[in-house]
């Protein structure tokens, strides 16, 4: 298989993986799947497994919540696997570049959510005005998914086709502070999502529970499951001891 075909196939798979991550979420977009599949395409399944497992473990605890937009695991695994197989420089360096590349995916997603999809959403709104069912589906599903080819498929194709040195050159061209800055910013934008959720709450008088949840997580280091259990206690107690009592 020529490199062109290989690069095209990898780019196609990445595009499909992103469509999955925006729809059914069978999770073929995770490193543990992307690595082996790209390995298969590139003719070295073993390296595909090695890179996939390593990147998956790096991203194991990274959780996607609200507006928080963590480094992207999909493109980075695809490119890292490609580089490892083509460059032959061992998986270590490949995985290292993967982390750097993950910022590119992160930038693409930020761009998608803040510009492209805002545009399409307004087109959905226009379709609603005209009660145009096909317009809704076209602008909510088909066109945004087509854009995945551009946002995620194209960079992948270029990286594989032009090779490790090229990728490295691009990464080197980005100042370190930008890369760190994007990840620092990425760690902060969860605040906007949480603020949106908070602003959607009608019954403002329950804010003490916000402080309660914060105290448990902040001072006692409670994890997300524990916080969910605390929420269950709060809801149940209010239900039984305040709401239900009122009924009598």
């Amino acid at each position: 298989m020529s490199l062109l075909v290989q690069a095209l196939l990898v780019a196609a798979f990445v595009t499909i993986a992103f469509i999955d991550s925006h729809t059914a979420q069978t999770h073929i977009f995770r490193p543990i799947v992307v690595g082996p599949v790209v390995g298969l395409i590139m003719g070295d399944v073993a390296t595909g497994f090695t890179v996939g497992v390593q990147v998956e473990m790096m991203f194991l605890a990274v959780i996607f919540v609200g507006t928080a937009n963590p480094p992207d695991p999909t493109i980075s695994t695809a490119i890292a696997t490609g580089i490892a197989i083509l460059g032959g420089g061992g998986t270590e360096t490949a995985v290292a570049t993967a982390l750097a590349v993950s910022v590119i995916g992160q930038m693409a997603t930020t761009f998608q959510n803040s510009i492209i999809n805002v545009f399409f959403m307004h087109r959905v709104e226009a379709a609603v005005e005209k009660i145009d069912r096909h317009g809704i589906v076209l602008n909510n599903t088909i066109l945004p998914m087509a854009f995945n080819a551009l946002l995620y498929g194209l960079p992948t194709f270029l990286a594989i086709y032009l090779g490790a040195d090229y990728v490295q050159a691009i990464i080197d061209a980005i100042p370190d502070q930008i890369i760190t800055g994007l990840s620092v910013g990425g760690n902060m934008i969860g605040a906007v999502g949480f603020a949106l959720l908070l602003s959607s709450i009608k019954a403002r008088k329950f804010w003490p529970f916000f402080l309660l949840g914060f105290i448990f997580a902040s001072y006692f280091g409670m994890n997300m499951v524990g916080i969910a259990l605390v929420a269950v206690v709060g809801v149940a107690m209010y239900y039984y001891f305040v709401l239900a009592d009122d009924r009598n």
């Binding site: 729809t23 059914a24 069978t26 995770r30 543990i32 799947v33 082996p36 399944v45 497992v53 959780i63 919540v65 609200g66 507006t67 959510n113 803040s114 999809n117 959905v124 709104e125 609603v128 005005e129 009660i131 909510n140 599903t141 945004p144 502070q177 930008i178 760190t180 800055g181 994007l182 620092v184 910013g185 760690n187 902060m188 969860g190 605040a191 906007v192 999502g193 949480f194 603020a195 959720l197 908070l198 602003s199 959607s200 009608k202 019954a203 329950f206 949840g213 914060f214 105290i215 997580a217 997300m224 499951v225 916080i227 969910a228 605390v230 929420a231 709060g234 809801v235 209010y238 709401l243």
Partner: protein
Amino acid sequence: MSDQVTTSEVQAEETPKLTNKELWKVFRNQLTIRCANNYERQQNAGFTQAMMPVVEKYYDDPEEKREAYERHMEYFLTNDITSAIPVGVAAAMEERYATQRDIDPDSINAVKTALMGPLAGIGDSLLNGTARPILAGLAISFIQAGLGWFGVLFFVIGMSIVSLGVRYFGVFQGYKQGVKLVAKIQSSGLIDKISDLAAIAAYTIVGGFIPGLVIINIPIEIGSGDSVLNIQQTLDGLVPGLLGVLYTLLMYVLITKKKISAVKLILITMVIGIAGVYLGILG
């Protein structure tokens, strides 16, 4: 009251119900909830598409149809997978409103909004934070044990079951519970009670998630030698995670009081991150 309920239930029986086939249509459209995910109103377009089979079935008058669609173009954000539950509930409520006119259409968005927070928190912690790492961990182990593609398949099938299973449950059960809900909705303050309980869950969860998910670190150290003052350590010694919660509250004020859009705030935040790193005050 029990008489009343019975009456409502009788009426409910008379309502033309969504068939299984139609609910499967809702299920398929719910899969697109995140396609046009955007920082302005998040999953609103997706929710609207999910409602299409219901709106098309129950509304004939174009004006009413448009109003129904517009309703769901409002801001909506929750976990992609658990969002199937409010989709199911909203289907039941649209059905009721369209056929009986005995509920307030505003209550549809009220219930949706109430469910957003709790379902985001519970979905993210149990699906993203629990099920995914466990299945991935097992898959990795299988691969390490030499089972190769079996591990990959195990992961994909496992996650498909989780993702599609919860959505199936969400649409079908959400619809069923929604039907029960609308039958009782005239009873005093039910919507308020749902909002109250949802507010408790949402506040607790958002407050509790912030320290782990909104992370701001000031890497400045003043002085040298034995008496170095590490600002971040000092802050953590007072209130761990203080900066993250303060930044969230700032965003909250900017959104609610200053009406600044989320898109702008996200771009500003990224700029602050980069600028902070350049200035050496964030990192």
